[in-house]
């Protein structure tokens, strides 16, 4: 079994709205696989179907070789899940959460203590582990949830937006933690995210999903290589005018305004900066800042969907 997750035309339809539209996904064993897309793209619906929380309207999927509808219980025993929203009980301690999970998932009693200690090492809760969860910080809660998902040594760990709502430093800690975990454990991780950086840093392979459909999938580096374009971001005195004029330049592949800044898509951007500056001053437009960026996943997303991934809170 090369792929630990395989879906075949999996679809979820609500009345006249199609949340997930005939998705075919192949997730190779022992990889970190990212499903990247904006909010409302169908990421959570897709992951929920794979976790047996939602039943697909049509199509099938296999997780660890088990059918997600006909063998739901076997699927549940093979997976660990960290939900997008918190799934902790405020009035239980961290250790109690781990114990409860271990017994719900039938971890044999004689190895339970050992497993819990092993996880506690990993999630580094310190003394807090014996305090009520309501006293934990956001990062600690998330680490506890990820640790809990690992107690029964699942074959696949599903992480639904693992760093949503966390501060940047905690986010990086979680990334490091997920990265270390995949190095040391025999586990496949399927994570959803709308953070480009997260997908870029963590994933071996990324599927971009938009409006319920997978648009493309490949390794982050291959996806970026396809673009062959750098982005020059400019802050200028008259952006509209500049866009209009710079459109005619022969090296401009694409140019548009985003949040008051001019974005020019060009090849070998660093060599073109002098020319762009000269051009602006010849047109009487004042440049306040120039920045050259090599393509990132965000640009990949823009290329395929024509729009930006909308950030948090929208």
């Amino acid at each position: 079994m090369k792929n630990i997750i395989e879906t075949d035309g999996i679809t979820k339809r609500y009345d006249d709205f199609i949340a997930v539209n005939s998705v075919n996904l192949e997730v190779p064993r022992n990889t970190v696989y990212g499903v990247l897309g904006p909010n409302g793209a169908g990421k959570t619906t897709l992951i929920s179907m794979l976790c047996t929380i939602l039943r697909p309207t049509s199509g099938t999927a296999q997780v660890n070789g088990y059918d997600i509808v006909k063998q739901a219980k076997e699927v549940r025993a093979s997976i660990g899940i960290v939900f997008q929203s918190r799934a902790l009980d405020d009035i239980l301690t961290g250790r109690e959460h781990l114990e409860m999970h271990a017994s719900l998932y039938g971890v044999p009693k004689d190895v339970r203590k050992e497993r819990i200690d092993e996880i506690l090492d990993l999630i580094a809760l310190g003394k807090k582990v014996d305090e009520y969860v309501k006293t934990y910080s956001g990062g600690m809660k998330r680490r506890l949830e990820i640790g809990r998902g690992l107690i029964h040594h699942p074959k696949v760990l599903f992480l639904d937006e693992p760093t949503l709502g966390l501060d940047p430093q905690t986010r990086e800690n979680i990334w490091e933690y997920i990265h270390n975990m995949t190095q040391t454990q025999d586990i496949t991780v399927l994570l959803t995210t709308h953070y480009m950086e997260e997908a870029d840093q963590l994933c071996d392979e990324v599927a971009i999903i938009n409006k319920g459909q997978i648009i493309t999938s490949d390794s982050p580096s291959n996806l970026k290589r396809e673009l062959k374009a750098d982005t020059i971001t400019l802050k200028v005195s008259d952006p509209e005018e500049f866009v209009k004029k710079a459109k005619k330049l022969e090296f401009t592949k694409d140019i548009f305004l985003m949040n008051g800044e001019v974005k020019m898509m060009v090849e070998r951007g660093e060599n073109l900066v002098p020319e762009v500056v000269d051009f602006a001053s010849s047109q009487g437009i004042h440049i306040t800042s120039v920045e050259v960026e090599h393509p990132n996943l965000e640009d990949v997303f823009i290329k395929y969907t024509g729009s930006r991934i909308v950030g948090e809170g929208k």
Partner: protein, 254 residues
């Protein structure tokens, strides 16, 4: 025995929650005391209530026990709605255990809480001047647990059919209060107009209160065996129906 283990785990969590929310234990003592001391004494002074030592206050004592058990167990069952809102229900529902095990674990947990509460309530008997014998105490505890299981099942059943606590007032007005008021907790069920009598005998709590009154005050409207059969039947029915609903509405609960 993974299912037994699962039931045990869910029972353990339910019991821990009950014990840790101290305010809940405090309320479950204070509320019945208010009923007994204020309502019992107040109405008891206004009406002539013969036949029982201790008068009206003693008469409503088993009724108030029934009421306390009814309220706490139904609301504990409804706490599944809160578990769902806080996301914790998902953690339980995606575990590889069957849905009936979840319902059984919850019900037994609520039954355990009722057991603790029952002990406290029965120790309050001196307040109303009722002498509690050891056999009466033990039989009452058993009855309380059976009543508790039935209403825990009803609470879970309602929770499986309700999406949010917005319907809380409706549940209160249309289910919980009628069950309490019709149960004969506050008045004798003999000699009622026939329309009311009909409703009273449809109410499962009527049989619970009558059985408790039989054991504690040696006074009842129905034979004890009949009441016991009805409350056992109710408990079994409610738990099985809600186990069925949890299986059927699995998706809606996650």
């Amino acid at each position: 025995m993974p299912e037994i283990e699962g039931i045990y785990t869910i029972w353990l969590r339910e019991t821990k929650r009950y014990v840790r929310y101290r305010s809940r234990i405090l309320t479950s003592v204070v509320t019945p005391l208010l009923w007994l001391l204020i309502f019992g004494t107040g109405l008891g002074s206004a009406i002539r209530f013969g036949g029982i030592a201790g008068g009206y206050k003693a008469f409503i004592y088993p009724g108030i026990i029934g009421q306390t058990i009814l309220f706490t167990t139904i609301f504990s069952g409804l706490s599944v709605i809160m578990d769902r809102q806080y996301g914790f229900l998902k953690e339980i529902m995606v575990a590889p255990i069957t849905r009936p095990s979840i319902v059984f674990g919850k019900s037994i947990g609520i039954g355990t809480a009722a057991l603790i509460q029952g002990v406290i309530l029965l120790l309050l008997s001196f307040v109303v001047g009722v002498t509690m014998t050891v056999p009466a105490f033990l039989i009452s505890i058993v009855l309380i647990v059976i009543i508790a299981l039935g209403f825990a099942g009803l609470g879970l059943l309602i929770a499986s059919l309700t999406d949010s606590l917005e319907g809380f007032n409706l549940i209160m007005s249309f289910i919980v209060l009628p069950i309490f008021l019709l149960s004969g907790a506050l008045f004798p069920v003999t000699g009622l107009p026939s329309w009311l009598k009909f409703a009273v005998y449809l109410d499962p709590l009527t049989y619970g209160v009558d059985a408790l009154r039989n054991v504690i005050l040696h006074q009842s409207a129905l034979p004890l065996e009949l009441s016991v059969v009805v409350i056992i039947g109710f408990a079994v029915l409610m738990i099985f129906v809600s186990a069925f609903m949890f299986t059927k509405r699995e998706q809606g609960l996650m």
